[in-house]
Amino acid sequence: MASERTLFIINVSLGLLSVLLLAMLLGMELPTLGQAQYALDKEEPVCMIEWSGNSTAFDDIDRCCLQAREQLECQAESKDALDWVCGTGAGLRIWLNDKAYNYCKQQPYW
C-alpha cells in the first residue's frame, strides 16, 4: 500500500478534482485552446468564397462560419494566406485563415 505521504498527495489532488468537477457542474466554463489561439493571433480574420474558380472576400465572419460548418468538414490546406478549406470538389468552397478558423471553432454550433 502507498505511504502516508503519497496518500496525502493523492487526496489533495482528488479534492481539487472534486472542486473542479463541482464548479463545472454549476456552470463554470474553462477556457479552451481554441480561445487562447484566437486571442493570441493578431491577424485579421479572413473568409473567402470560391465559386467557379473565382474567389471573393466575405466580411461577415459569423455567417461565413455558419456556412462553413454546414459543409461537414474543413481541411487544412494552404492557398495564398489562407489555411483551411471547407467543402469538396468543384463546387462551392469556403477558405479561412487561422484566425477565422479559430474564431469559427469557438462558435457553439461548431
Binding site: M1, S3, E4, L7, F8, I10, N11, L14, G15, L17, S18, L21, L22, M24, L25, E44, P45, I49, W51, S52, N54, T56, A57, F58, D59, D60, I61, D62, R63, L66, Q67, R69, E70, Q71, L72, G87, T88, G89, G91, L92, Q107, P108, Y109
Partner: protein
C-alpha cells in the same frame, strides 16, 4: 508511535475512498449534464385526430415549439424530451444517414419536428449525394418551377419538411450563385415559381434574407453588418406576400436603414421591422441563426438577447447551440420573461398556432 502512524494511514485511506466515490459521482453527473440527461422531460402532448388544444400545452412546451436546433444525434434524447419545434441538419455523407437520423428524431413525437435544410442550389448540405442547379443559372419560370419540384421531391423523400430557400436578395456579389438572375420583378417571379414547385412536394419554402442586401455587405467591423435598404430590396417579399405562396420569411441580422429602418438594432430583434412585415404576412417569421456577434454585441448577456429575439415577434428561432443545457436555459429565460409580462403570452400563442398549422394541425 507505530500505532499512531498506522491510524493516520487508515484515516488517509478513508479520505481516499470517500474522495474517489465523490469524484466518480461528480464525473457521472457531469457526463449526464453534458448529454442533457438532467433536463426534465416535458409532459406528453395530447393530440387527437391532428387537433392540438393550445390551452393544454404548458408555456414551456409552447416556447419549445418555437425553437429549431441543430439535429445532432448526440442530442437525440434532450431534443425529444424538450419537445422542440425543429431540427436543422448539416451535411452528411449519404442519404441513409439523413433518412435514419430523421426517422429516429420523428419517432413517437406527438408533434413532429420541423426538419429544416439550407438547400439553395450551390449552397447545399447534400454535396456528397448530388448536385443541384445554382439559383444564378435559373433564368426562366419553367426552370425555377422544375428546380422547386426537383428539390422538393428530394427533400420530401429524405423526410425534410421546411427548406430555407429561395434567396431573394437582389444582388449576390459574394457567393455569385445564390440569387436568381435579373431585376427585382424577374427575381420575384422566379422565386414564386420555385416556391410553387417546392411546396407541391410537401416541403415549405422560406424567402430570405429580409429585408435584403445580405450578400453584398462589406463592413470593416467584420461582425456588425449594416445596409441601406431600398424599395427594390423589399419588392420580392411584397410580391410573394400578395401571391400568398410564401409560407415563411427569414429575417437577417442586418442593421437596416432607408425603406426599412431597424432603428439601429439588427433587423431580427427590431419589433418595428417585424411588426411592419407582419401587416401583410401571416406565415412564419423565422430568425436567422442567433449566434452572431453582430447580434450578441447588442446585449449585455445571452439571456437579454434570447428575450429580445422572442419579444420582437419571431415565430421560429434558430439556435444552433449544441449544448442542450443552453437551449433549455433559453426556454427557461423566455418562459420567465412571459411570466413577468415582458413578452405577451398572446404573442407566443399566435406564433405557436402558426407553427402548428404549418405542421398540418388544427389548433383550438
Amino acid at each position: 508511535m507505530k500505532q499512531k502512524k498506522r491510524r493516520k494511514i487508515s484515516l488517509q485511506k478513508k479520505v481516499f475512498f470517500i474522495l474517489m466515490i465523490l469524484v466518480l459521482f461528480l464525473s457521472l453527473l457531469n457526463i449526464a449534464k453534458a448529454k442533457g440527461l438532467l433536463i426534465p422531460k416535458q409532459e406528453p402532448v395530447d393530440v387527437k385526430n391532428k387537433v392540438v388544444d393550445l390551452h393544454k400545452l404548458t408555456l414551456e412546451q409552447k416556447i419549445a415549439q418555437m425553437v429549431v436546433v441543430v439535429g445532432i444525434t448526440e442530442n437525440y434524447w434532450p431534443w425529444k424530451n424538450m419537445q422542440l419545434g425543429g431540427i436543422h441538419l448539416f451535411s452528411r455523407h449519404n442519404e441513409n444517414i439523413f433518412n435514419n437520423t430523421i426517422i429516429d428524431f420523428q419517432y413517437q413525437m406527438a408533434i413532429p419536428f420541423f426538419v429544416t435544410s439550407d438547400l439553395e442550389g450551390c449552397v447545399s448540405p447534400f454535396r456528397f449525394i448530388r448536385e443541384f442547379t445554382p439559383a444564378s443559372e435559373v433564368d426562366t419560370i419553367n426552370k425555377a418551377f422544375e428546380k422547386g419540384v426537383e428539390e422538393g421531391q428530394f427533400l420530401h423523400r429524405l423526410g425534410f419538411n421546411l427548406n430555407f430557400a429561395p434567396v431573394v436578395d437582389l444582388k449576390d456579389d459574394i457567393w455569385k450563385c445564390r440569387s436568381f438572375p435579373g431585376d427585382e420583378i424577374k427575381i420575384s417571379e422566379l422565386a414564386q415559381a420555385y416556391l410553387t414547385g417546392l411546396q407541391t412536394q410537401g416541403v415549405l419554402g422560406t424567402a430570405k434574407h429580409y429585408p435584403g442586401k445580405t450578400l453584398i455587405v462589406k463592413d470593416p467591423h467584420k461582425y456588425i453588418v449594416a445596409a441601406e435598404i431600398g424599395k427594390k430590396d423589399v419588392y420580392p417579399y411584397k410580391y410573394l406576400e400578395e401571391k400568398g405562396e410564401v409560407k415563411a420569411i427569414m429575417v437577417s441580422h442586418i442593421i437596416a436603414s432607408g425603406q426599412i429602418n431597424s432603428e439601429g438594432v439588427p433587423s431580427v430583434v427590431s419589433k418595428t421591422v417585424l411588426d411592419d412585415l407582419r401587416v401583410n404576412f401571416n406565415g412564419l417569421i423565422v430568425s436567422d441563426e442567433i449566434h452572431m456577434l453582430g447580434l450578441q454585441d447588442f446585449y449585455g448577456s445571452l439571456d437579454e438577447m434570447y428575450i429580445a429575439v422572442f419579444k420582437a415577434g419571431n415565430d421560429v428561432v434558430l439556435n444552433f447551440d449544441k449544448d442542450p443545457n443552453e437551449i433549455y436555459h433559453m426556454i427557461q429565460a423566455v418562459t420567465a420573461a412571459v411570466e413577468r409580462g415582458e413578452i405577451p403570452e398572446a404573442q407566443i400563442d399566435a406564433s405557436v398556432t402558426r407553427i402548428l398549422k404549418a405542421k398540418g394541425f388544427t389548433v383550438k
